[in-house]
């Protein structure tokens, strides 16, 4: 195993890297896999279930075996395919899934128990005793099976997302993709070309072929240079287009730093959403292997991969290489190896046909026709293969070709179901392709170089025609059409004898350790549909999604069921084509940036006062303002309530939704949207409003203030601000578009403060410029547009959520922070204090006001005691259906208050009410507690809740039961208005 040539690798520079702690060197242009092979490291991992020694199997994204860990600490990435990991200086890689050491894996004992571990074994074997499954069997199985391990630390790298737009997206840059891109680029259309590899050219770099008279890799390099010079073409390498979505949207993952290791300055990966009017899928084909006994030893490799290592990386993956093929393409591996002076020990063709190539250069190679491999030897590396003719050929590498599968995946992401093509013994794209997609090259079953180049060129011509983009795109590049005949050979039907029989296994899916026996067992057990076989055997699952095994597996399935392969069909192809980190989907939306944060206008001032904040939707609201010496939040909140109720408190209530409603039909519009009537509201007055959903349940509540005949300002709850606005726009545009009314959400435009407490009038009078705020001139439920603080425009409302004499004062948002500071400053002698969301909540519970806890989507106007608000004289949203039997029933739960019989008891929201003498079971449930608070005004806990016939049960006792916490206590049913039920305070 050695470098036999430069290939496309820069051997003038060394790159040092480590594998399992051992130091190696490779070169720029190497993958980890090619560098490991160049250093003679054949054994690179252990298999999923049986812990069999495994080596590098492919040279691309399809790799099932060579999964390694890259990096260290929090930057440790498991399950990286060594075949696509670009080598860089200092790269640290490690093998996976062993205990002890890679060479001497203690878990390899599993392999000895193989006859017991067939597909589905754990469903049958670990049935008894039942309790052992969760505690013993499953942890044990999970420990012994599996791939790499996560670092279990937060991902320290940065990721990003973005959008790209194109007339034409070309996916893949093999012969078809480059021919398509060249034609498209020359046309002047806006083109994006994506290549998963770091080197563009695909198989052009893996073969000794010629295009337009030059070496294929040279033609690729020249074409890429030409494309990069075109201003209308965006060339993206290291970019996997992993999904085709609706309407020509594609997902693509660009790896920015994975080939150089961590860089502080850059996002590691970028998730692109590409919108393309047309697309060309030129994703090539993936070679498959053949199921024959012991076909998983390190050194057994796909024939095309052997050519890639030889021609692109200059590495011979063995010193004595045998070739095993059922098609013409496999022979080219032998020819290329011989041309590079690597010994070819045998070419075994399963077909009994003359060699498709000139074999004179193959030296002493044994050429066998119509034969199969029935045995291989070599524990950590292949040593020989034995044929059914009895001949044994010494080999340290076996190049296998079972044919090529077009990479149809992206063509199937929108319901496309591939069709079987007998001549290439594989599936090609068919059915409903993603809108605007054309298929070119090997992805469409055009397996020869000349045909691939022509089909790429033609696909661009068709795409441009569909785009009505007329341009001369010239002639397609020319190349020969090499032989690529195939006669399928899926698996070797070899009956091993005696003891060996149980251990004789032919692998189908190397990554999941699925053998041909597992597939036939699945059929025996009744799982005959292809999707069932996948789930029963795990064939085609995990990181490679069966790229080298699926078609082989379903061919074996077809044989076992007696169906044809097209009748058996494929499993459904879903995104992603190759694994995509969740972190890339998240992009920058992590941690604090996970979603936007909304600050209230007085946020900065609240911060300066040491406020504690809480999330309320996207908003951060001040929860309380602790003072030095206060040791618990309750102490702070109790003080805020007491000081507000005895002096004056101010609270930022900007988060409440505000909607400006204007127009000649504004009043009529609100009459239809709200359950109660607003057309009768006098200018300069505010009214409480209740909004129903069309199904008759309560939707939201708030107030509407009338500033003129044609101008209202309505408020919504914080949580429903967006939904109510959307609903009102629906009513305006979809139900009554003839009405002259317009809506603007002004939630962020106005900073609004509640000013509550007996001294609130005095404080407000110090703020307003000219407005008379006496009780006579500005009574309860008055409103006015005015100015404060020498000319600042303001809106003043005399409304109260706290039950105190109270106002709400709104100013343009930019004045909010200053006004908050000013009110606390100028009201110091009045005892002015800021209060937070918690105190606001305590005071509203003391007054029995409903909020989100009570308006939970299951409550009617009647439930919250506002049944009479629903006008019987007019149509409004929800009016009719609020009369449904179930919603109008007399025994519905009603909102009432609760106080503990034992005043020291702490009430809890969520407890359920059960009458005395009844069992605590669901059938006896009579209601539940929605909100609780400690009332500093009353000196004990109080609660709100729903109770059947609650309004008629005042003064009764009921049990509050909390089976979750094992608590139960007695509460007395009372009015929800705990404080000042007559409302004298707020009218003072």
């Amino acid at each position: 195993m050695k470098r036999v040539s430069d290939g496309l690798v820069d051997r003038s520079r060394d790159l040092n890297f480590s594998f399992d702690g051992k130091q190696f060197a490779g070169h720029p242009g190497d993958t980890l896999a090619s560098a490991l092979l160049a250093n003679g490291q054949t054994l690179v991992g252990r298999s999923f279930k049986y812990h069999r020694p495994r080596g590098i199997f492919s040279a691309g994204v399809e790799e099932p075996n060579a999964l390694v860990e890259i990096g260290r600490g929090a930057r440790l990435d498991p399950n990286v395919r060594a075949t696509v990991q670009e080598l860089y200086d200092g790269l640290s890689a490690g093998s996976q899934n062993w205990r002890g050491s890679l060479r001497h894996d203690l878990m390899a004992v599993n392999d000895l128990a193989a006859p017991l571990l067939a597909a589905g074994f754990y469903y049958k074997t670990f049935m008894w005793p039942k309790a052992f499954w969760e505690k013993l069997y499953e942890p044990l199985i999970r420990h012994s099976a599996g791939l790499g391990k996560l670092s279990m630390q937060p991902d320290p790298d940065a990721y990003d997302t973005g959008y790209l737009f194109a007339d034409l997206l070309i996916i893949g840059t093999g012969p078809a993709g480059l021919a398509a891109a060249l034609a498209a680029g020359r046309s002047g259309a806006r083109v994006i070309v994506c290549e998963e590899d770091f080197l563009m050219g695909g198989r052009l770099n893996s073969e000794q072929q010629h295009v337009d008279g030059v070496a294929s890799s040279t033609w690729a390099a020249n074409t890429v240079a030409e494309l990069k010079a075109m201003s209308n073409v965006r060339v993206m390498t290291r970019t996997s287009v992993f999904g085709a979505y609706d309407h020509g949207v594609f997902g693509a993952l660009e790896r920015i730093t994975d080939h150089v290791g961590h860089q502080d300055q850059s996002a590691r990966q970028i998730m692109w959403r590409i919108r393309a009017r047309r697309s060309i899928l030129a994703a090539g084909a993936t070679e498959r292997h053949i199921a024959y006994p012991d076909n998983d030893r390190p050194g057994i490799m796909l024939a095309g991969a052997v050519r890639t290592y030889l021609n692109r990386y200059g590495v011979a993956p063995g010193e004595q290489i045998a070739v095993y093929t059922n098609n013409d393409d496999g022979w080219r591996t032998a020819i290329d190896l011989a041309a590079a002076n690597v010994e070819v020990t045998a070419v075994i063709d399963t077909r009994d046909t003359p060699p498709p190539v000139d074999t004179s250069g193959l030296g002493n190679a044994v050429l066998v026709r119509g034969a199969n491999i029935v045995k291989t030897t070599g524990r950590h590396a292949l040593t020989s293969v034995t044929l059914d003719t009895g001949v044994t050929v010494p080999s340290d590498c076996l190049a296998v070709s079972g044919g090529w599968n077009p990479n149809v995946h992206l063509s199937c992401h929108q319901r496309g179901r591939p069709a079987w093509r007998e001549d290439i013994a594989s599936f090609v794209p068919a059915g409903d392709l993603p809108v605007g997609m054309g298929i070119a090259g090997a992805a469409n079953g055009e397996l020869s170089l000349g045909a691939a180049l022509r089909s790429g060129h033609d696909a661009t011509a068709q795409a441009l025609a569909a785009l009505s983009h007329g341009a001369d795109i010239g002639q397609p590049p020319q190349a020969v059409d090499e032989a690529c005949e195939i006669t399928p050979c899926w698996h070797v039907a070899h009956e091993a004898k005696g003891l060996r029989k149980a251990w004789s296994r032919s692998w189908v899916d190397l990554q999941n350790d699925v053998t041909s026996k597992d597939v036939t067992l699945s059929v025996q057990e009744g799982f005959t549909a292809v999707e069932h076989v996948k789930r029963y055997t795990t064939l085609g699952m995990a990181t490679d999604q069966g790229k080298t095994s699926n078609v082989l597996g379903l061919a074996i399935l077809a044989e076992a069921t007696g169906q044809s392969i097209p009748d058996t069909g494929t499993t459904i192809f879903r995104p992603p084509w190759t694994p995509v980190p969740i972190a890339a989907f998240a992009g920058a939306s992590r941690g604090e940036a996970f979603r936007p944060v909304r600050h209230t206008p007085s946020h900065a001032w609240a911060e300066s006062q040491g406020a504690t904040f809480t999330e309320s939707g996207l908003w951060l609201r001040a929860q309380w303002f602790a003072k030095p010496g206060e040791s618990t939040w309750r102490e702070t909140v109790d003080r805020e309530v007491e000081q507000t109720r005895s002096g004056v408190g101010v609270c930022d209530v900007t988060t409440l939704g505000k909607i400006d409603v204007q127009g000649n039909d504004a009043a009529a519009f609100l009459d239809r949207v709200y359950a109660n009537t607003f057309s009768t509201l006098a200018v300069g007055k505010v009214r409480y409003g209740l909004m129903l959903r069309e199904d008759g349940f309560a939707m939201d509540d708030g107030t509407a203030a009338r500033f003129s005949d044609t101008h209202y300002v309505v408020t919504t709850t914080t949580a429903n601000a967006v939904g109510v606005f959307r609903h009102m726009e629906f009513c305006r545009q979809c139900l009554w578009p003839g009405m002259d009314v317009h809506l603007v959400s002004t939630t962020e435009a106005w900073a609004q403060f509640a000013i509550a407490g007996p001294h609130s009038r005095e404080l407000v009078s110090r703020l307003v410029d000219e407005l008379d705020v006496s009780n006579e001139a500005f009574p309860f439920m008055a409103c006015a547009e005015t100015t404060i603080c020498n000319g600042v425009p303001a809106r003043l409302f005399r409304i109260s959520f706290s039950g105190e004499l109270a106002y709400e004062l709104a100013v343009p948002a930019r004045y909010g922070d200053a006004l908050m500071a000013h009110m606390n400053d100028t009201g110091k002698d009045l005892g002015a204090v800021p209060y937070g969301l918690e105190a606001l909540n305590v005071m509203r519970i003391e007054k029995g006001h409903a909020t989100g806890n009570e308006l939970n989507g299951q409550t009617t106007a009647g439930d919250i005691g506002l049944g009479r608000m629903v006008s019987q004289k007019k149509d409004c949203i929800g009016n009719v259906l609020s009369h449904r039997d179930g919603l109008a029933a007399a025994d519905r739960p009603r909102l009432v208050g609760f106080r503990p019989v034992d005043k020291s008891v702490q009430l809890r929201a969520g407890v359920h009410f059960v009458s005395h003498g009844k069992d605590v079971i669901t059938e006896n449930d009579e209601g539940w507690m929605t909100s609780v608070a400690y009332s500093p005004s009353l000196g004990h806990f109080i609660g709100l809740g729903y109770l059947q016939n609650g309004a008629d049960r005042m003064g009764d006792l009921v049990r509050a039961c909390d089976p979750l916490r094992g608590e139960e206590y007695e509460v007395e049913i009372c009015s929800p208005h705990f404080l000042d039920p007559e409302g004298d305070r707020l009218r003072a």
């Binding site: 609706d246 919108r275 545009q733 009719v880």
Partner: protein, 96 residues
Amino acid sequence: MQIPHPLLGLRDASEFVYLGDASLLQRPEVPEGADMGDSVLLDAFHEYLHLRDNPAGEHRELWFHEQGDRSWLVVTRNTTTHEITDCVLARDLVSR
């Protein structure tokens, strides 16, 4: 998905909020002075609000351009292919 907004052109579906069947545009008429609990009215509203066709194929449905111009749109979308064949302002449809 992308929605061809009649005023703003092709916009990404993530800018929109989906509501449902465009039959919601046909809210039953409530006659002046009607008894709100009338069983004929109740049936009409029940049908309007709850009984929907669930076609495999062309479906007219309401989308709200919440992250855009706040217009309600009626989009004709094939539920089996997501192909969008028509998109109009809901208010134009109702006013007609």
